[in-house]
């Protein structure tokens, strides 16, 4: 049961059939009932108090506040529902698994029975294709439990991880990302859940498709290499196909991507775009390089913030929208990278043009 549908019900904007089904859902158990009661109470009280809310019309300095999407960050398991909104219903079980591994400072792996492993490295290799054993960094081994279990890995800002799944498909997880996946794959479907960004090299196994679910869209593939970005702070979903073929649900129809195509979806206005691109601009992060072409400086800065786990403040706001092209080697220090970046877009002493702060994340 998605929050959107429940709220449409409360607003009286759903169909009669939907409302009947939703009442059944509410009465199914106490958890559902509580979820409904809370939202209904909020809505009715808000209706009562809203008329006296007014924003003062005044010259105000614009304050930008990023609000994470509340639902996803709650991480509470609401239970499966009968509803057709298929991207919403079962991702809740994935989000529930992430609730106690996210926001840590180390790469964190959660295996069956809630066993949690913290990895001190800056980058880790975790493999699942070794005979019922999970191998970490070619040394540590964990026995897989009987049956198929959902595991999760969280990669904080400043770190990266390479994951080899049970079918030998490879996932490169970028900084600030999480993946939920089964430790063994069922024969008919391979499904994982991603928050953040990852590059997938999916192995064709002849019998089942591979599906990447996110908070926004799902990507379905056969044997293929592609990049997926699901960024809940920027409210952005983007996928780039390198080779093979992928399918996903666009707003109105199923979209099939060809190699070198990029699909972008902005959640806050539900706008989507399909275009041909130079894929190297989107996947250079895997080799420790950042390549960009006519990209806004502020976007590049944001990527650097995630990779180095810092906050970068540009003192000259005019530089934000400047379009730049180039290549950065991430093995260099952040200071030398910023200096060379700013050298290209401005004149004078570059060190004074920016400030690096520790990241509160």
């Amino acid at each position: 049961m998605s929050d959107e549908l429940l709220i449409k019900y409360i607003q009286g904007e759903c169909t009669e059939e939907e409302s009947r089904a939703i009442l059944s859902w509410i009465e199914e158990n106490d958890k559902n009932k509580t979820r409904y009661k809370e939202l209904m109470l909020i809505c009715s009280l808000t209706d009562f108090y809203m008329p006296s809310y007014q924003k003062e019309k005044k010259q105000v300095s614009w304050i930008k506040i990023a609000i994470g999407i509340a639902a996803c960050s709650l991480g509470i398991f609401w239970g499966l529902s009968k509803f057709a909104n298929s991207n919403q219903d079962s991702i809740e079980k994935y989000q529930a698994l992430l609730s106690d591994v996210e926001k840590r400072t180390e790469i964190t792996l959660k295996v069956a029975d809630k066993q949690i492993v913290s990895l001190k490295d800056t980058s880790a290799l975790i493999s699942y294709n070794n005979n019922r054993k999970i191998v970490i960094n070619d040394s540590t081994q964990i026995e897989k439990k009987e049956g198929t279990q959902l595991n999760a890995v969280f990669v904080p800002y400043g770190k990266r991880t390479k994951l080899v799944l049970a079918d030998s498909s490879t996932v490169y997880l970028n900084s600030g990302s999480s993946l939920v996946y089964p430790d063994e794959f069922d024969s008919d479907k391979r499904e994982v859940y991603l928050e953040g960004e990852a590059y997938f090299k999916v192995v064709k196994d002849g019998k089942s498709s591979f599906c990447v679910r996110t908070a926004y869209k799902s990507v379905e593939v056969l044997g293929t290499q592609f990049n997926v970005l699901s960024d809940q702070e920027a409210e952005l979903f983007q996928t780039v196909l390198v080779s093979g073929k992928i399918a996903l649900d666009g707003n109105n129809e199923t979209m099939i991507l060809e190699p070198n195509q990029c699909y972008t979806y902005a959640a806050d206005n539900a706008e989507e775009k399909l275009e041909s691109v130079d894929v190297s601009n989107y996947i250079s992060w895997i080799d420790g390089r950042l390549k960009f072409e006519k990209e806004a400086l502020s976007n590049v800065i944001r990527k650097l913030e995630k990779i180095y786990n810092v906050k970068i403040v540009l003192k000259d706001k005019n530089l934000d929208g400047m379009l730049i092209s180039g290549r950065l080697d991430l093995k260099n220090t952040l200071v030398s990278i910023l200096n060379s970046l700013l050298f290209t877009v401005s004149s004078g002493e570059v060190e004074s043009k920016y400030e690096i702060k520790a990241n509160g994340k």
Binding site: E16, Y36, L41, I42, P51, S52, N251, A270
Partner: protein, 191 residues
């Protein structure tokens, strides 16, 4: 600074006058609260005639108790409690008619669900002076677009489709923003 317009100051004077038997004050208080109480009641009883009647009964109850109001600071809470109780009474009377899920009319579907809300004492005790302050705080912090859409929906009563047309956005986007705002409010109240 984003400022919230509150009606407290003016109301305080009206309440004092009401408590000393001034019926003109009752009319003025009704002007302030009628529409809001109606919207609130309508959410629960889902029937326009019933909601109108309930609001009338609320003001009758207010008048009947006017002598006790001399030191009352917050009349909003007082009116909401009366309204809620009247809605609850109405829905309880209808309960027997709503036993068979399959044969419910659309109105009854909502009424049956709403009984759960109104019968939950602990939940309803969240009606406090605090609520308005918390609500305003959340509203002030929303991104401009989300706040705009939310106001058009909950304050101005526009349907999602109408807002979509007005703002040249997809209806799905409107649903997204309204959900986002309500979840933020929910987070502020329940956590």
């Amino acid at each position: 600074m984003i400022v919230v317009y509150e009606i407290c100051a003016m109301l305080r004077g009206l309440i004092v006058q009401l408590s000393s038997g001034n019926s003109r004050a009752l009319r003025d208080i009704m002007d302030v609260y009628q529409k809001r109480l109606y919207k609130y009641a309508l959410q629960y009883v889902k029937n326009e005639f019933v909601a109108e009647e309930i609001v009338e009964d609320v003001f009758v109850a207010l008048w009947n108790k006017h002598t006790e109001l001399k030191d009352v600071e917050d009349i909003s809470g007082f009116l909401l409690v009366i309204t809620r109780n009247l809605c609850l009474n109405y829905l309880r009377k209808k309960r027997l008619e709503m036993i068979d899920l399959a044969s419910l009319t659309e109105e009854q579907i909502y009424q049956r669900g709403n009984l759960y809300v109104l019968e939950d004492e602990t939940l309803c005790s969240l009606v406090s002076k605090d609520y308005e302050a918390k609500l305003n705080n959340v509203l002030n912090k929303l991104p401009e677009k989300t706040r705009q859409i939310f106001l058009l929906s909950r304050r101005d009563g526009l349907k999602n489709k109408e807002i979509a047309e007005k703002m040249q956005l997809l209806e799905k986007s409107i649903e997204y923003h309204i959900t986002k705002a309500l979840l933020e409010i929910r987070k502020a109240i329940f956590e």
